[in-house]
């Protein structure tokens, strides 16, 4: 099994609203999108951002765009008005997501996304 960084397969952008961050994850190549859908689950994203203690991670699939939109609840220490972080918007979090490693050859059909 080859491990690949998301960074080599996809690009991403963070937006903020209050104490929530959304991070889009967009496949460079159409053929890699199913891999992202299969492996970049809400659970893995929650774990990846564990230090920020998200209370919920939701994900929305946009297959026509080859994109996934993640919404992470309560990860901005209160958001732009309350956070003490230098990056109070969480704008740099997209590149942190791209550090996640996934199994590049995983195609097993029984490894479907969890609800």
């Amino acid at each position: 099994m080859t491990q690949t960084r998301l960074y080599d397969l996809a690009h991403a952008r963070t937006g903020d609203k209050g104490n929530q961050a959304n991070i889009s994850l967009i496949a460079y190549r159409e053929k890699d999108y199913p891999l992202l859908v299969q492996q970049v689950t809400c659970e893995r994203v929650a774990q990846h951002f564990g230090a920020r203690q998200p209370t919920q991670v939701r994900r929305y699939l946009l297959p026509l765009l080859g994109a996934i939109n993640f919404v992470l609840e309560d990860v901005l220490d209160g958001g732009v008005n309350d956070s003490l972080n230098l990056d109070m918007h969480g704008k740099s979090l997209s590149f942190h997501l791209l550090e996640m490693r996934i199994d590049a050859q995983e195609t097993s059909p029984d490894n479907q996304e969890t609800p």
């Binding site: 991403a12 952008r13 889009s24």
Partner: protein, 446 residues
């Protein structure tokens, strides 16, 4: 019917003042109906302008208003390019007078200015509406201001009534671009698909360069030519609401499927329900197609009936933020920075929550609870800057914190230098949703 082109001249308060002229030149070269939008109101910007207006009733609009308009006003008026901006902020009337003054200064005839108002909920009546929604979350003594997000139709009406410039306070950002499209095509309030498509065109425009190569470049992975001269975007909005995104001619930057997709999802939560005052937009069936260099088409956006409520943001006194930094370099620098951190925790930690950053070690991905920093084994970084930050309702406590960090100069670990301190008043906000008939927008011609 000719397609309308809507260009963007600014994407936030404080955006570059030299971005609009190339956009206007491109709109003129293209010919046909056109508008230029300025989006100058981030969430907090309006509350700061409310405070500015209270200090000086002639202020409270975008401080850079005249810097934005001076280089483009004559060309826009001469070529019939409507200017639409939320640069009215907390004082749209004041902004309109300033624009009239600018026209006079430039020797131009007085422009017809439309003013869209009704968003301000800071008076006793508006405050009561917000209080009714927020209940116990409404902080009576700390209340600063509240504004509702208005939609595009009053902008469109002002344009149809002949306005050459439309000044607004708080409107939903995409509505700035939707307004001129409604005025041009004569869409009704229930043309949901067209409204939704043009709303997403406005969404792509509203952050300025973010769709044309800004907030995107990553050397070797996502290269952007001429980023130092990044061109601002233009949307050619068709009669069905679909659009082609392009950018000002002769500029740097990049418009391709990647930049458009990133911005399409920016600050979106559920892509099936992007809520604005005008429509609920659904981008789950949307497609993004490259038509040529710096030309990308967005199609397939669907619309659903607009929400019965308008979002409003209420602002309250949020106490004070204080932050201070000190640097350590060379052998054992990280250990000395960590010792300074320990000194601060022991002297001040019981008084207020302290956030620590070790710039050069961990300063962005960390959390206000310092959990990630505490979990990180001490390293051997030789170029470290300690940052200490806190919040408190009492500015004297923040002043004490800043003096304590400053005292590390003489009383802290060896070789500490370059202390900088800063404090600022904070505003906290609460969102609520108010039945739209209770917050009617209106427009007037100045």
């Amino acid at each position: 019917m000719e397609t309308i082109a809507v260009g963007c001249g600014a994407g936030f308060s404080g955006d570059r003042c030299d971005a609009a002229p190339p956009v206007v030149r491109t709109l003129i070269e293209r010919g046909g109906p056109a508008a230029l939008i300025f989006e100058n109101l981030a969430e907090r910007t309006l509350a700061h302008q409310q405070l500015a207006r209270r200090a000086d009733p002639s202020r409270g609009y975008e401080p850079l208003l005249l810097d934005y308009l001076r280089p483009v006003l004559a060309d826009c008026l001469r070529h019939g390019i409507a200017i639409v901006g939320n640069f009215g902020a907390a004082n749209p009337q004041g902004a309109a007078r300033a624009i009239e003054g600018l026209a006079a200064e430039l020797g131009l005839p007085t422009p017809r200015i439309g003013i869209v108002e009704g968003d301000d909920l800071s008076d006793p009546r508006g405050r009561a509406l917000v209080r009714a929604q927020l209940g116990g979350d409404f902080d009576e003594t700390g209340f600063v201001c509240a504004n509702a997000y208005q939609g595009a139709f009053e902008i469109a009406q002002a344009l149809r009534a002949g306005a050459q410039v439309v000044v607004t306070g708080r409107v939903a950002d995409p509505s700035l671009a939707l307004g001129p499209a409604i005025a041009h095509y004569g869409w009704s309030a229930t043309d949901w698909d067209a409204l939704a498509g043009a709303t997403m065109a406005g969404h792509l425009l509203e952050c300025g360069a973010q769709v044309s190569g800004g907030y995107f470049a990553d050397p070797g992975y996502k290269d952007v030519p001429g980023l130092e001269d990044v061109g601002f975007p233009i949307a050619e909005i068709a009669a069905d609401g679909s659009c082609i995104i392009t950018k000002a001619s002769g500029t740097g930057g990049l418009v391709d499927c990647r930049t458009v997709k990133e911005q399409l999802l920016y600050e979106v939560h559920d892509p099936a329900a992007y809520l604005t005052p005008d429509v609920v937009a659904d981008i789950t069936q949307a497609t993004v197609t490259q038509l040529g260099p710096h030309r990308v088409r967005l199609a397939g956006v669907r619309g659903h009936p607009r929400p019965p409520t308008l979002k409003a943001l209420a602002y309250f006194d949020g106490g004070w933020l204080g932050e201070a930094e000190i640097s350590y370099a060379g052998p054992n620098a990280e250990a000395r920075a960590r010792l300074a951190m320990d000194v601060m925790q022991r002297r001040m930690g019981a008084r207020m929550p302290l956030r620590f950053d070790l710039i050069g070690v961990l300063s962005i991905l960390g959390d206000d609870g310092n959990r990630l920093l505490q979990a990180l084994p001490a390293g051997d970084s030789r170029d470290v800057r300690l940052r200490v930050a806190s919040r408190h309702e009492d500015v004297r406590q923040i002043d004490l914190l800043l003096r304590e960090v400053t005292a590390l100069w003489t009383g802290g670990p060896g070789g500490g230098g370059g202390v900088r301190t800063a404090k600022r008043q904070r505003l906290s906000n609460r969102a609520c949703f108010i039945p739209r008939e209770q917050v009617p927008a209106r427009y007037t011609l100045a």
